[in-house]
Amino acid sequence: MDTLALSRLQFALTAMFHFIFVPLTLGLGWLTAFFETRYARTGDERWLSITRFWGKLFLINFALGVVTGLTMEFQFGMNWAEYSKYVGDIFGAPLAIEATVAFFMESTFIGVWVFGWERLSRKAHAGAMWIVAFATNMSALWILLANGWMQRPVGYVLRNGRAEMVDFAALITNPYGWLEFFHTVFAGWVIAGFFVMGVSAWHLLRRNQEDLFKRSFGAGAVFALASSLLVAGVGDLSGVNAAKNQPAKFAAMESVWETRTAAPMALLTIPSLSGEGNAVEALKIPYALSLLAFHSPSAEVKGLNDFLPADRPPVPPVFLSFRTMVALGGLFILLSGAGVWLWHKDLLQEYPLYLKVMLFSIPLPYIAIQLGWIVTEMGRQPWAVYGLMRTAEGVTKTVSTGQVWMSLIGFTLFYSALGIVDIWLLAKYAKKGMEG
């Protein structure tokens, strides 16, 4: 493999590893803050036990989210120096703002929350967690406005051999970034909802602390259902957005090769491995693809044949990831909907099979969110900045293949060890149950 391939692999692995831990944080912070507010308002010690249990899991997970985020900041400069020089004027701004505005708040108030139980009033202590939850979601906003700019560059001119910012307002109102933000944070909330339901299910199956875990399950289920519906709604808008702004990505997501109006959608599609056309296309729903792409039955959908092979993203991984993600998204609505109903009717313990399914469903939203990022980032290829800079042009020229091999192996070993320890700790504390 050459430096480019290795650097891409390293970026993908480290970003995906980072994104095992970040999304749970995005949602579990809100849930923990909600639990603690119930405690602060009522003084009911049961809510305190619930808060402390989920808060502890939040922290174990949070630790790796923070340290692996450092890697992302270092890596743009280390492995993508040409990219950084070319776009730093506009792309660096949201990253720097994220650090100054959101990350500062998050890192400062997490310490307050962890150590401040005896030093703040109950309400102020709950307030610290609300600030942490808000700040982590704000972090996501600035990072995704940066990513949104890579997907749909706005607010810049090409000057002095680089992209220079001329319109900050355009950067921060870029609809692509906002859609990514909502889709990503809602997906993170789904992860948190399923995590809370799954861990609670494990305890309910063992009849541990049933009252406490039923309360947790209910909050997780309601949160997961609302978030699954929201994530699907934003997902639909994101599809329209991709079709409009990144037709090659949309065509790869659906594996569409011929441009046509009133396009049908083939429910069963298998892209051919030769890289041209589909091996199987069956079960066509008339107009469905045009409706999905532009919310209009007669609209024209661009096919991949309209793009030079060098300008097409890799179709099979984008297509398969997209289909799987959508199917999982549908499943999340059904599973969390059932959870809300069973919890509301107080029937959870009557359906051990459902509880078992929920326990084993914990990884599913994690898989869905990773697949979503594969669609977003692989679907943007061959571009680093869509239509402006190719990924191959962005890689560092002065770093040798050997150095990237070294760092890639280093990251793989180091991250594997950290991931195993952290997930083992999470499982240990999750199984331990609540205090008091």
């Binding site: 270092f74 020089k85 100054t100 400062t108 401040g116």
Partner: protein, 341 residues
């Protein structure tokens, strides 16, 4: 107003803030165990930095982000040219963070001593490597027309290693003073004695560093042309002497503030000497990355200056509030509640 110059100052301030703040918790990380005897004292050592280190590290993230936004070519050059060094710094910081987080999660002695050891090694490496990296920045890099032309081994030159040792000495002194001031009983007493001894090593290394900088780097030029800048290194000498005197008088809190001031003045002296270069070339000044040839557009610099002006004071305000909130040491009950026992 020339915003590139404003951003050079902000760039210097952010790195300076990072060294002065993370400096003490890195110092506690690699040398705190010297002041502690037994598990309970080790716990007090780690808990003294518990509520603060994460917020301190954000200064690094902000310094990195600001370099990216305000001086993209410097960000790209610094991180890619020093690739292996930056990778080691990154791994050290990751290991330091997880060590502090994981240590209290299990009660087994083997688990605790493993993470305490890994916190010590990783904090030491981070301190040393930051010193080596900034030593090379002060000394200048082998930058020619095609970019960096040096090697990793070339980064380990005597001047850079001296700077690395100096950073470790600064953070050792700073960390021990923190313990002398924030802990009680035997730990504080031992830390005070260690700081007092460490001061001599620090003073010696600093004298060597100043002499070597004067003789073998371009840092002296600005101080010769603009004599008023000499207030920075003179202030550094005064602050460091004050730290020793205050410590001897049994005022470790004030000694810590003096040590804080000395790191600030040391770092600002270095940046003042570097100006207008950010990454100086040893080959030919024409290849240096300077305020003039490596900054972002005026629009971006002005916008980011406004962001910094509004949010940096707010962030500092929050951190000051946190330092006040946790002024009194954490009790054993609080530690148990925090899950960092």
């Amino acid at each position: 107003m020339d915003y590139a110059k404003v951003w050079f100052v902000l760039w210097a301030v952010l790195w300076t803030g990072y060294f002065a703040l993370d400096g003490f918790d890195l110092g506690v990380g690699f040398s705190g165990w010297l002041a502690a005897d037994g598990e309970e004292e080790i716990r007090n050592v780690f808990s003294s930095i518990g509520p603060f280190w994460d917020g301190n590290e954000v200064w690094l993230v902000t310094a990195g982000g600001a370099t990216f936004a305000a001086f993209p070519a410097v960000y790209a050059g610094l991180f890619s040219w020093l690739y292996p060094a930056l990778l080691l710094i990154l791994f050290s910081l990751i290991a330091r963070g997880v060590s502090l987080e994981f240590r209290g999660k299990l009660q087994s002695p083997a688990w605790k001593s493993f993470w305490a050891g890994s916190a010590a090694v990783s904090s030491f490496l981070a301190a040393l490597l930051f010193g080596v990296a900034f030593g090379n920045l002060f000394r200048g890099l082998e930058i020619n027309a095609g970019g960096y032309n040096g090697t990793f081994v070339g980064l380990l030159n005597p001047y850079a290693l001296l700077t690395g040792a100096l950073f470790c000495a600064f953070f050792f002194f700073h960390g021990q003073l923190w313990l002398a001031f924030k802990t009680a009983g035997p730990v504080a007493a031992r830390a005070g004695r260690l700081a007092s001894k460490g001061w001599y090593g620090l003073a010696l290394l600093l004298a060597l560093f100043l002499a070597a900088s004067w003789l073998s780097t371009g840092l002296s030029g600005n101080f010769i042309v603009r004599k008023y800048l000499l207030v920075l290194p003179l202030g550094l000498a005064a602050a460091l002497s004050a730290a020793k005197i205050l410590l001897a008088r049994g005022l470790p809190g004030r000694a810590f503030l003096a040590s804080f001031a000395s790191i600030v003045l040391f770092s600002l002296s270095g940046f003042a000497g570097l100006y207008p270069d950010l990454l100086a070339s040893r080959v030919d000044p024409a290849f240096s990355l300077t305020v003039y040839n490596s900054s972002s557009s005026a629009y971006t610099l002005r916008l980011m200056a406004a962001v910094a002006l509004v949010f940096l004071p707010a962030a500092i305000g929050c951190q000051v509030w946190v330092y006040r909130l946790f002024r009194a040491p954490l009790s054993a009950a609080e530690l148990k509640k925090s899950g960092m026992y």
